[in-house]
Amino acid sequence: MNRQAVRLTVNGKPWHGEVPTRLTLVDCLREEVGLTGTHVGCEHGVCGACSVLLDGEPVRSCLMFAVQADGRAITTVEGLAAPDGALSPLQDAFWECHALQCGYCTPGMLIAAHALIARNPAPSDGDIREALAGNLCRCTGYQQIVDAVRLARRRMGEVPP
């Protein structure tokens, strides 16, 4: 089986290893890097549960090989909180609004929402739905997820005292 060296920056920390060339990025993150927060849902790029940020852009980590990410920076759900463990405003809003039930799609939803806020700090309701439309959730009917992103938008828009 072909193996190849890969260097990644995962949540700000360097990681390197030799992996099978056919190993998907999501399997690499889960099994080699040891970060199991990123989930496998459909393995064909539809459900979005495996979303991660690749150099800041949301991608499906089931649709690319780990070797294709060589030299790139990846953010997973484990990297969204501050280094001291403080939740990001979106994470906190997800908790406040109970924007999840089983939690399986949640990492992907959070990644999609973080990518949205990063490029558009004041998204409209339509922007929010557009940004989440590539991620499937079977528990929530999406309402509390949309509510959470709205709450985070509002809180982040507030001028600190």
Partner: protein, 801 residues
Amino acid sequence: MSEYRYVGRKRRTKEDRRFITGLGRYVADVTLPGMSHVALVLSPHPAARIGAIDTAAALALPGVQAVVTGAEIARHTNPILHGLALPGVRWYPLAVGQVRYVGEWVVAVVAASRHIAEDAAELVRVDYEPMAWVGDPEAALAPGAPLVHPDHGSNLFYRRTFVWGDVAGDFAKAHHRLASKVYWGRSATVPIETFGVVANWNRGNDLLDVWASIQMPKYPDQMAHCLRLPLNAIRVHYDVDVGGSYGVKRGIKHSVLVGYLARKLLMPVRLIEDRLENMVGGDMHGPDRRFDVTLAFDADGLIRSMKMRALDDIGCYPGRSPLQLAKPVGAIVGPYRIQSVEYEAVAVATNKTSQVAVRGFGQAPTNYAIETAIDRVAAHLGMDRLAVRRRNFIQSHEFPYRIPSGTDYDSGDYDAVLTKTVARAKLEALIARRDALRAEGRLAGIGFATCLEPSGGNGAFEPLFNPANDTTTWMESCQVKVDALGGVTATIATSTAGQGHQTLVATVTGEELGFDPDCIRVVHADSLQALPGNSPVASRMAIMLGGAAAGAARQIKERVLAIAAHNLQRPVDRLVYREGAVFDLDNELRTLNWAELVRIAHRKYHQMPPGMEPGLQASYVWEVPKGGTMPTADGRVQMYPCYSFECHIALVEIDRGTGQVAIRDWFMGHDCGTVINPDIVHGMSYGGIAHGIGAALYEEFAYDENGQLVAGSFVDYLLPSVHEIPEIALVDHCTPSPLTPMGQKGSGESGYLGAPAAVASAVNDALSPLGITIDRLPMHPSRIEQALADKRADMGEREGP
């Protein structure tokens, strides 16, 4: 204001924090040293005899540890139990002798990695001799139809006609009779996490450890039966987070297979379905049901009687699927005062993947059939659709209300909830909007559904459909333990698939003990430590686990009061418990605080009441309220104890060109008694409505003329995204149940039980100006578009040149 301090208040859940930080622990996150992986060889045929199986090339691949066939499994395991007595129907994890549906597992390959296992699976050669097969359940009942299980001699797995009340007399008395036919297509809840299981045979202790994404009553019992092990040789770890289930995560064949392999190979083995395995052969499809409903009614809309025939295509192996025809017996008249019912339930085997429990256990299809029939009565009489419903609602003063099939509904106020929802929806304005859209030439419609969610499930459907099964106990349990420093820990006997059991138990326990729920720890026992329970099915945990937690917490309070009475030398009835402390009603200065009470219980036996057990702990095992009775000979039984009500009002618009349905507005009135955590209940309702919209408009496990599943991926099986699900307005109402400690009822299936009926009602209202009726779910855009095109062609013909 509520009488409760924590119950019913908006509070953050206990579970969410680990999920938003990526720290959930799902079955795919369980890794054991030296763990092997399973891949499967699937049947390409809907029916074929299995000839030679050549495993040599697969076994020769480096890293492959075993290749196992059905013949081997059948020698070493017992067939999987199913709900009915069906001689000649033998269900094993791997096909034995013949395959019976496309996707059935034929060979299991175990290897050092899933990659290698998949490579090896491709090297397995199976000789098949294709056989005649049948995919249509009506055809399967015809004489001479190919037999799915030749040894059983028939494709009919269950048929019984129940008659409750004077159906013939009521039909004779009624002014009108109206028959309708509807079809509920094959869909399921399709969690984003597939099913997975890890097993390890613990040689030092002769113990099979199991981690699984499971939601299944009596799961360890079934594994023990199949694996020929004592029940106490199986330890299921219930602390695995389950990535969604909504009924379908039964996984019994997966677990028997992996349990067998782990014991055979003496190594940890894991099987995580990939999406195709899950969709085509994971045994997780839902009801696939044809209904014939005839209502007998008077000119003023009073419905006297109903005849219903439900024919369910259950696929290949029965599992619990025929029983999904039985559960609706407990709400067979919906929220209506229908006096008599004839119900014919028919379960038919076909060469498709097996049907399993889906949210509502058959109630959502039944509600769709009833609600469609009610709409047609309204149309027939030229009455308002809600007026017909109100004409027949059971009234709030009539509870407990016994329906013809023998179940008592506990409480409700259907009129009040509907009135509240109509007001919130501003129904007159909504109708004006629909009519304005129509005036612009658009297809717009309003849909209604009013229906029940039976909750607190017992298994009364089991003895109802299978007299050999006399199970009437459906308990749930909770242990509450106060540690030596006064901390409270509750232990529950189940895994959780997003229902928030930790929050539920912490809230109820906190309410009873007067402690902040955030300070109460809730843990999942494993199956050997756990007290008896029946898993979080059937909208039962707010009732049953909430009831068990309340019962245990109340025992703690009793013990604390007894300790205080002994030490304060006061009679118990002159003492009061408040937030951990005990006060003397006659002298508020005489008190014992929590730390003192706990210290006495744990450390000062000399201050304990004589004979009292040391420590401070309680266990409570609760039988389902009103449970424990067997059905009568004519099939009357108390099904579930508590009945939640929901009513839906939806405005939709249909694109004339594409047939696409856009939902403009959605309101749901909901009465599930006392709510423990509003965010959790609301979330389940939103999610249930989304499931219902999916089942009504998009989701279908379609098979082609060759018996192949053509919706095996998320590209073909369409799950609604945030674009297809509208903003939903929930309207809360509370009629407490008299049967539960806090008046709570169930809500885990809410939304799903009425949403499909409401969508169908709205679509048909939108199409009514054209004289089109669609009587089949899902109402795919293509299906609607075809109906519109047919109508245009028909009109063109009639207008002529």
